[in-house]
Symmetry: C2
Subunit: 429 residues, 2 copies
């Protein structure tokens, strides 16, 4: 079959800074998915997009073409409204775990299709898979039944959703074209729109541990995604949230599950509680039930009930003991003073090196590996007090993990204060 366009023409159009037409975009995404556009051609196009950018019309067309590369889910038959959340990924970002049952307990169905982690940010599925017996794989039918019954599902996205994005994401990962607003926004939103949620809340992280290191980039990404959601008639809101320092006091798979359960039990670190409630309020409002206050629901214990039912529905015992790493190493505060910096990226890389994350998508992860923080920015420390505890099954990993932490924490004279953004920095609608 002869093709209506030539890949080189599409590439040179973008290379020279011109806009791609809707038809060029439809063709190139489809032809790439079919294999008629080669990996090296899409790599050159992705780099041209990276360096030349895309207009909103182009990003919307690209997103739409990726959605049309696969199936679309439809939750309109459910008896409850739906809401979904996406985080751009951060260190210690376990928020999905308490958030999904909390929003479900507020009367909103949450179909949370998640991924595994790559690099220094952890994946929601990796965290839940540290619970013995828990299964990430559900058929569309099982997901629908669980949503109707429990109201909450966290599971792996099926391969049928936006296959073009799957192929392109793997390519971007090896060609230095990941951190690009049009490609990130279309990747996230093609999956979220194909999932068929009625409303969507985006948690766009900003800071060292996030894709977007500064507010300008995070705001641009948030605005692009919110507009794409609204174009697709999904009520979409984004919160820009702090990823300068890890969320909560744990980084790692089982460690973060434990902390999430603490939040559901009414405890947990204040930053995790604050962000969970802020996102839950947005989701509940987006789903059209703003009269329910998630803070009250959390305090009532109903979110914990949903969590237990959700874990049980996916094959696990919510009361089972979580795996723990075989070895620990404690890092001590080097001096008296105030902890003013605890860098998210460095902690994320250290946790990854301990075995909590993976470098390639086929790598295994350790359930027990990670980092427990004993202090967060603002804490007053005495020299020699424990600052953090590193966990791993393989003690030869400690050295490289400690290396990643060089310069990651700064202790300043007493009276100093950390210069940090608030947890929720900005709301983008």
């Amino acid at each position: 079959m002869s093709e209506p366009y030539d890949a080189v023409e599409v590439i040179t159009t973008k290379r020279d800074g011109d806009e791609l037409s809707d038809r060029q975009i439809d063709w190139v995404v489809d032809a790439y998915t079919r294999g008629a556009v080669a990996e090296e051609q899409m790599a050159a196009l992705a780099m041209a997009i990276y360096l030349r950018g895309m207009s909103h019309r182009e990003v919307a067309g690209w997103t739409d073409a990726m959605i049309r590369s696969g199936e679309r889910l439809d939750f309109s038959a459910l008896s409850r409204p739906t809401s979904d959340k996406h985080s751009t990924g951060g260190v210690g970002d376990k928020i999905t775990l308490p958030l999904v049952p909390l929003v479900a307990a507020c009367g909103v169905a949450v179909p949370q299709l998640s991924g595994r982690g790559l690099g220094h940010t952890g994946g929601t599925l990796d965290k839940l898979e540290s619970i013995p017996g828990w299964s990430a794989t559900l058929t569309n039918e099982e997901m629908m039944l669980q949503l109707e019954d429990v109201g909450a599902v966290i599971c792996a996205a099926g391969t049928g959703l936006a296959p073009a994005d799957k192929k392109l994401y793997a390519l971007r990962d090896v060609t230095g074209t990941v951190s690009c607003v049009p490609l990130i926004a279309s990747s996230i939103m093609s999956k979220k729109i194909a999932e068929g949620t009625g409303s969507l809340v985006l948690d766009v992280k900003v800071g060292s541990g996030a894709f977007m290191k500064d507010l300008t980039g995070a705001r641009e990404l948030a605005e692009t995604m919110v507009r794409l959601g609204q174009d697709a008639r999904i009520r979409t809101v984004a919160l820009l949230t702090n990823m300068q320092t890890p969320l909560g006091l744990t980084v790692g798979n089982a460690l973060e599950v434990r902390e999430s359960v603490e939040v559901l039990a009414g405890g947990g670190p204040p930053d995790v509680v604050e962000l969970t409630i802020a996102l839950a309020r947005e989701m509940v409002a987006g789903a059209g039930v703003p009269s329910v206050d998630p803070a009250d629901v959390l305090a009532s214990g109903k979110a914990m009930d949903v969590w237990r039912r959700m874990i049980r529905a996916q094959g696990a015992d919510p009361d089972a003991a979580l795996p723990a790493a075989a070895e620990t190493h404690t890092v001590l505060a080097p001096a008296d003073g105030v902890l003013v910096t605890l860098d998210a990226l460095a902690v994320g890389v250290a946790s990854w090196r301990l075995g909590a994350g993976r470098a390639r998508k086929e790598d295994p992860v350790q359930a027990g590996a990670g980092i427990e923080l004993h202090a967060k920015p603002g804490a007053v420390l005495r020299g020699g007090e424990p600052l953090m505890t590193l966990h791993t099954d393989e003690p030869n990993r400690f050295e490289r993990a400690v290396g990643a932490l060089a310069g990651a924490y700064v202790i300043a004279p007493e009276g100093s204060r950390p210069d940090l953004l608030p947890i929720v920095v900005e709301r983008v609608v």
Copy 2:
């Protein structure tokens, strides 16, 4: 074996506008040649180089790494000095054919390793292969013997020279990264330096039929290549020459051989003669024998003698009849007046469509196909007079060839003059 660098790091360095280190360049060129850097990774890097550029240090390092990917020839054992010439490619550019025997007749050995054509510019080997029995393939030993004996060789470059460039050129061709000064300059100069010539003259074309459409780009390419040649201690000069309109009165393989023989016989179109002599003077001077005037040598018939010996040495009879196309179609002047424009690119594309060129490197070419021009810019024409004759073996090709000529020629009222650059526009040393 573990690699000392990561391809993604090299790509992102260039993507972000930073300079690659010599070691990064050495590694990425070598790893790509070995297959440890994937085609899609090199495609992304090539696009980043296209859009971010390269410093002279980077281009020099890249050229050097491509040279070291293969073998180097050495002509220092020859009894004569050597000189070589490279043209960036144009329409009707048969200059190599009369030039090589002319310079050899001046006492300079010319090892001319050439390529086949792709797209609208013809290849020297395709032209010579229209002579029945002529062989483009010589071993390095045969080449050396012929250089010592005849003084002139035009043959195919062996696969041992700059294999990195061969692989990269094929990739650039399908990824929209061909027309980029650092990549063009390093591609040409890696092969020319590996060929081991003592001096080099570059014919950098400028105008519609050339890679470089304007003087600024052509000058930048010429300056980059001259500096690379000088870095490698090869006496290197570039002439910027006119490619706004085809060279001579013929475009196509056998048609251009016929015209080249006319030049060697003391006739031929003035522009072909002028450029042949201008380039020959540079080559002879570069080789250190400036006292010989190529114009006198051409007039003496000695260049024709060398041509005949060169053709015979490569298996063909210089007196054999050249193939002619089966069909012709004559395009007539539409009105009285002065021919002020005859666009090189359009004529090149028309000739290509007639079968003289190829779209893919595995395609065959027709020996007899091409275009004979009956008038050049500046000619006074009467409406209905023949303007050009199209030649092909397949008459169904005429329609698309004529289509390519739409707007290619402009006839203006008598007294008008074409606005053209001179044949030799500028000399870059």
